[in-house]
């Protein structure tokens, strides 16, 4: 009896969380005449394929829209932001965890708090800043601004990560005659690799998800990223190409979700540090 309740509850949560994705999947592969039947027609069941599935919408998405372009733009921004974030946040996290003494924790907290300042508070001044720099409507504007979101969180992640790495290895290297700088350059990188991987994945997911700054800075269709282009520019005129739209949403979400699943525990450690001991 208890097992039944457990499975029923689990099923309930899976249905609630997963139903929009099932809907994306069904819409992606349905023929138009199966798709566009008014919901008041109770004889036509929308949950299943009433006609054979089709690749029509997928072909439209990859062949006749700017979607492939947006994917490339997004990957370009991801790569640049990853480089900047790793170069800036990893040394900062190390510094706060190992070099800054008792001020490290406080300062790390301070930097982390800036992560809470949302894009929707900053997009107005940024729109002015970006046009002052002559970066409006360019991917460079995103590459410049996205690290404001990734650096605070990743610095905090690396700091937290290093607290779980024993100090003895670095200490031993110093006893062996390494200078402090040599330890940082030669010993520490190997220890931080898993932390860096988390930083890369976090940055990747954040850039993939970001919408507000992209909407504010980018106006021409060929400069858009996936998360901006799909909801804003895939819809041309009054005709909603729901099949292609849902295909784009599906093909973007699934790889992201797979990556997320592998790293969620690390991210959550970042969010709960302090409130959960362990």
């Amino acid at each position: 009896m208890k097992r039944v309740a457990l499975y029923a509850a689990a099923l309930g949560f899976v249905v609630f969380a997963g139903f929009p994705f099932y809907w994306m999947l069904v819409t992606t592969f349905k023929q138009n005449r199966d798709l566009y039947v008014g919901a008041s027609d109770l004889s036509h069941i929308p949950w299943i394929f009433n006609d054979p599935p089709t690749l029509e919408h997928v072909k439209l998405l990859f062949g006749q829209t700017d979607f492939p372009r947006w994917v490339l733009n997004t990957l370009l921004v991801v790569a640049a932001v990853v480089v900047i974030t790793v170069a800036v946040a990893v040394p900062a996290g190390y510094s706060l965890a190992r070099l800054a003494g008792r001020w490290g924790e406080r300062m790390g907290m301070g930097i982390f708090f800036t992560y809470l300042i949302p894009p929707t508070l900053l997009f107005v001044p940024f729109s002015r800043l970006v046009s002052l720099l002559g970066l409006q409507n360019s991917l460079a504007s995103l590459i410049l601004i996205y690290p404001t979101m990734t650096i605070p969180f990743c610095t905090w992640l690396v700091m937290g990560f290093l607290r779980s790495v024993p100090w003895e290895i670095e200490e031993q290297a110093m006893i062996d005659g390494y200078s402090r700088l040599a330890v940082i350059l030669k010993v520490a990188p190997r220890l931080i690799v898993p932390g860096i991987l988390t930083v890369v994945v976090f940055t990747f997911t954040l850039v993939m998800q970001e919408f507000v700054y992209a909407l504010t800075f980018i106006s021409s269709v060929e400069k858009m990223t996936v998360s901006l282009g799909v909801p804003i520019a895939l819809v041309r005129g009054d005709v909603y190409h729901w099949g292609a739209l849902m295909a784009a949403a599906l093909f973007t979400s699934i790889p992201l979700a797979v990556v997320y699943n592998l790293f969620i525990d690390r991210f959550i450690q970042g969010f709960t540090m302090g409130a959960v001991k362990g």
Binding site: A9, F13, G38, L121, A257, N261, G274
Partner: protein, 298 residues
């Protein structure tokens, strides 16, 4: 042996050098714009020109007399509170389910995390399709189940549209909250739970009198992030309703975007966005208190 005090061994110098780029980024591109956001709200700056004139409290006077703004402020509070209430209930319940072992748990967990992993804008466009006025699968299902006789124009009526926004926000955030609560559950000392069982406490008693009080700090963290994510979110409302019908479902971020960016009135846009600050300040204070308590407890 005298310690070598070359530059390569000075921890303060090395620490400073390694921290400076991050500090510079945060100060120049978060701190300065943050101040600028507040300064702009007292100015008559527009997007078209680089002129920058002092406007005093004129922007604030204008928006406070504007029913659309007051409605947006109220909507922001309603959506945030409504969705976070749902999130707390859903997340504590889901955490109880997902701490147990059952067949297919890995798959279930994968699906559970989907709403949190998907980009907000893509989730919002999928929900726009789900709530479509003609093709809504929700309407079909309700009708097929005999629960609906008329028709629900989900995104066409203010109250329904607001409900739709709350549902989407709760859907998007509860997986994240669930995972945080699960992390909290696993840190509750097993002896306490076992002692409660030995003392004869049943499932509900254990849940409400033993586990939930211990979980409170973690649930608070989840809610605090949830508040920030919901109150400051632009994408869901922008894509789902665009603030419509007739400007009834705006929240602060969408109205700030409409006035500040689309309407090119940077001053007023900034003034509207500044009203997000109370939400953020409450959250920041609560988190600091939690962190301090954790420090004392440690």
């Amino acid at each position: 042996m005298t310690p070598r005090r070359t530059l390569a061994d000075r921890e303060d110098v090395l620490g400073g050098v390694m921290l400076t780029p991050a500090l510079a980024y945060v100060i120049l591109l978060v701190g300065v714009p943050f101040v600028l956001a507040i300064v702009l709200s007292f100015s008559d700056a527009t997007a078209g020109s680089l002129r920058f004139g002092w406007a005093g409290v004129r922007n604030y006077a204008a928006i406070l007399a504007d029913p659309i703004f007051l409605r947006a402020l109220r909507n922001t509070a309603v959506v945030t509170i409504g969705s976070q209430l749902l999130v707390v209930v859903l997340a504590t319940a889901a955490a109880q389910v997902f701490r147990a072992t059952f067949r297919g748990k890995r798959f279930a967990r994968f699906v559970l995390l989907l709403p949190w992993a998907v980009p907000v804008s893509l989730a919002a466009i999928a929900w726009t399709w789900i709530f479509d006025s003609t093709f809504s699968v929700i309407n079909w299902t309700l009708k097929a189940a005999g629960l609906l006789h008329g028709w629900l124009y989900w995104l066409g009526e203010p109250a329904l549209a607001l409900l739709a926004i709350i549902i989407v926000q709760a859907w998007r955030i509860f997986p994240f909250a669930t995972v945080i609560v699960l992390a909290g559950l696993s840190s509750i000392p097993q002896e306490i739970v076992e002692a409660a069982i030995v003392d004869g406490a049943g499932f509900w008693r254990r849940l409400f009198q033993v586990e939930l009080p211990l979980l409170l700090p973690v649930v608070t963290v989840a809610v605090l992030f949830g508040v920030v994510y919901t109150a400051t979110d632009l994408g869901v409302v922008y894509i789902l309703t665009g603030g419509g019908p007739a400007n009834t479902t705006h929240v602060l971020p969408t109205l700030a975007f409409q006035r500040g960016i689309l309407g090119a009135d940077l001053g007023q846009g900034a003034a509207i966005a500044v009203f997000l600050l109370p939400f953020l300040i409450v959250v920041a204070f609560a988190m600091l208190r939690l962190a301090r308590r954790a420090e004392v407890g440690a």
